[in-house]
């Protein structure tokens, strides 16, 4: 540039600079035009299948009978996440299935956090697993096989109606089988209760929320423990309290939180975090992430801990003190809040008939019993629930959960199965955090939860 200018007169130089600038501007304009055109063209090409095009859905139901001999030599991919002790039982049952049908089952164990995104990616890439273990069907409803096609219309009747709510799609489709049931509920540190001279709760005659908090506070004062009460930081666990006070976040596709009842339900928790009877730092210090308070209970820093029956196996293995499952506290209702897992087959899987047969096999009365006893879960089958299940370890604790199951309000099942439940639960956790941090009051925070839950329902209903 300098060389050019030196060889030109000032006038010529000025003209050259002007021309250069014009050329530069035109280049920039051309590039911008190109970018805008590219983006416009790109926008015209959908990144995948546009809703409403293709994918006519599943054909009308006609039960297909398959000769088991046809399964011989086939391979089935089962994507699984484990809660711990259930994995060995699953492997053993898979061994039996492989022997019975002369097939191969690839058990692919994934971390729970990666399960949804991993299966979604495999569906996008055409590498579809046949069967998957899920905690909810929300993210896959359109991709699941209606199991009635292979297992028949009546098969669903073998399962309890509550757990079945989350496995049922539109027009009574059986999109999954509830393979185990969980129930939220409290645990008590028996050693600390004894030391404090406080009576343990009676599973036959559950305590109230006031009685539970009074007992926990008394034990804390007597033993000098850091906290009185601990609870997992989770919308699902908070829903236990809401349910007991007669309300819930969402149910049957509607945002139904009753602000007055929710205020009554959550006030004791906010108060306990206010004076640190419940760990305030634990609640505020982990952002929007789920965090379990099991380590607080195991360290004997709190005599009462609200979690769920899946902790039974872990405490049996790790607790260095005497502990026990306690009945859920009552307010307007008694009982806990349900959860659980499902086994579902993907419609695009290579072997739908084998997948359906595998799900049936894993959930026969005998096999489900093996699985839930190993994992410390509750049964989903009617026959097992009626005859009862013997848990060789910790039978009295599992009996406490089984008793609470009969007291649990039905609305909990539809709440837990609602597509907007997980998102609404996160909003509830954030709302409680804001109140605990002193940023707002409980009624205002709950109003925001109501609005956000409604927005989620509207969004997911589109």
């Amino acid at each position: 540039m300098f060389v050019t200018l030196r060889t030109l007169s000032p006038r010529q130089g000025a003209i050259t600079i002007k021309e250069d600038e014009v050329a530069k501007k035109s280049r920039i304009t051309a590039r911008l035009m190109l970018a805008v055109t590219a983006v416009t063209l790109l926008g015209a090409c959908a990144p995948g299948q546009v809703e409403g095009e293709g994918g006519a859905g599943q054909e009308p139901l006609a039960v297909e009978s398959v000769d088991p001999a046809e399964f011989k030599g086939k391979t089935l991919n089962y994507v699984y996440f484990t809660d711990g002790p259930d994995q060995q039982a699953t492997r053993s049952l898979i061994g039996d299935f492989e022997k019975k049908f002369d097939v191969t089952v690839n058990l692919e164990v994934l971390p729970y956090k990666d399960l949804v995104t991993s299966v979604q990616a495999r569906l996008s890439g055409g590498n579809v697993p046949d069967v998957v273990r899920l905690t909810g069907l929300t993210d896959f409803k359109a991709d699941l096989l209606d199991l009635r096609r292979y297992l028949g219309e009546k098969y669903a009747e073998e399962f309890l109606p509550g757990p079945l709510v989350g496995a049922t799609g539109e027009n009574d489709q059986l999109l999954a089988v509830p393979s185990d049931l969980t129930l939220n509920g409290p645990f008590v540190n028996v050693d600390m209760f004894k030391k404090a001279g406080v009576e343990l709760p009676n599973p036959e005659d559950p305590w109230t929320w006031e009685e539970m908090i009074a007992a926990a506070t008394k034990v804390q004062q007597a033993t000098g423990s850091q906290y009185a009460f601990a609870m997992d930081k989770s919308g699902h666990r908070l829903s236990t309290v809401l349910n007991q006070y007669g309300t819930t976040l969402v149910a049957d596709g509607k945002a139904v939180l009753d602000a007055d009842k929710a205020t009554k339900a959550l006030t004791p928790l906010v108060e306990m975090m206010g004076d640190n009877r419940m760990p305030r730092d634990f609640w505020l210090g982990s952002g929007s992430r789920y965090t379990g308070a099991n380590e607080i209970f195991l360290a004997q820093d709190a005599p009462v801990y609200l979690s769920g029956n899946w902790q039974v196996g872990q405490f049996a293995a790790n607790a260095k003190f005497e502990w026990a499952a306690a009945p859920n506290p009552c307010a307007e209702n008694c009982g806990g809040f349900p959860g659980g897992k499902y086994m579902a087959a993907l419609a695009e899987g290579k072997n739908p008939a084998l997948a359906a047969e595998f799900i049936r096999f894993m959930n026969t009365a005998e096999n489900q019993k093996t699985f839930i006893v190993a994992g410390g879960f509750l049964p989903t089958r009617k026959d097992l629930a009626e005859e009862g299940v013997a848990y060789p370890a910790r039978q009295p604790d599992m009996d406490v959960f089984l008793k609470d199951l009969s007291r649990t309000p039905e609305v909990g099942y539809s709440a837990n199965a609602d597509p907007a439940f997980a998102g609404s639960g996160t909003e509830l956790v954030n709302a409680v955090s804001e109140v605990v941090a002193g940023k707002t009051d409980l009624p205002s925070a709950l109003k925001k939860v109501q609005e956000k839950s409604q927005a989620l329902v509207d969004e997911l209903d589109r």
Binding site: G43, A46, G55, L284, G285, S288, G423, T426, S433, R462
Partner: protein, 302 residues
Amino acid sequence: MTAVQTAPPRKRKSSLKMGLVPYLFLLPNMAIFGLFTIWPAINGFNISMYSSSNGRTFRWEGAGNYQSILTDADFWGIVRNTAIYAFAFVLLSVVIGVILAVLVDQQRRGRTFFRSVFFIPVLISPVVVGLVWNWMLERQGGLVNTFLGWFGIPEIPWLVDNNLATIAVIAVGVWMQVGFYMLILLAGLQSIDPSVYEAARVDGANRWRQFISLTFPLLQPSILVVVVLATIHGFQAFDYIYTLTGGGPVGATTLIVQYIYENGFVSPIRYGMASAGSVLLFCAIFALTIINWMVGRKREAA
């Protein structure tokens, strides 16, 4: 005559060949870069104009996702957090990076040792950094408060007070990255001709004057690189913050990448919103990088 006539095409052919060779060398890298970076980025722009919960079926939204994000009050809180974090991170990274580089450069012995010590945090997984600092900054029993307790300082709620948590994530971020910036600046310092300092000493300039009048101006190109990289790192911060504070307390340390992550990977999944957030982040970083670059060029020209 014939030879004269045929010579020019041979030359053109040869220069064409020579012109192609560099591109052929670049091709494998560009192919991978194009396939795994450029194409997904372009696709991200496209997805930002749709809504999808599974990445396979899409619903046309046009500017709907951008409208939802830009009218969301929570998003503007996150933008504010991100701006504060990025500004403080860039500023502290440059200042501390320059100081460390000058100090290490002046060491006659142990220069490699100090260089390694400051660089080690760069090599640790950010997730591990977040977990370890979470444990160290715990109010009760945390290493930092235990240490401060020896001097009679009461327990500080590092991770549960909004302002302190912001300070904590900035400090940990700088601790984690400053070693890398120090190395860039150290290379810049070592490329300055020592005779310039000799001339300054002959003219009677003290160390401070030398730093202000020589080191700092001559280090400008390296500082510009650090500012650009720190700006990008500052806006992209997520992994260690997620394990350190989870974006809390009450969203005080939630930055834009966590907002994108939560839309894309936490139920209910919203790939369109996550992509729109990524496009906005791209635009912000791109604009800032261009500004940095133009300011740097202007200074160099001056």
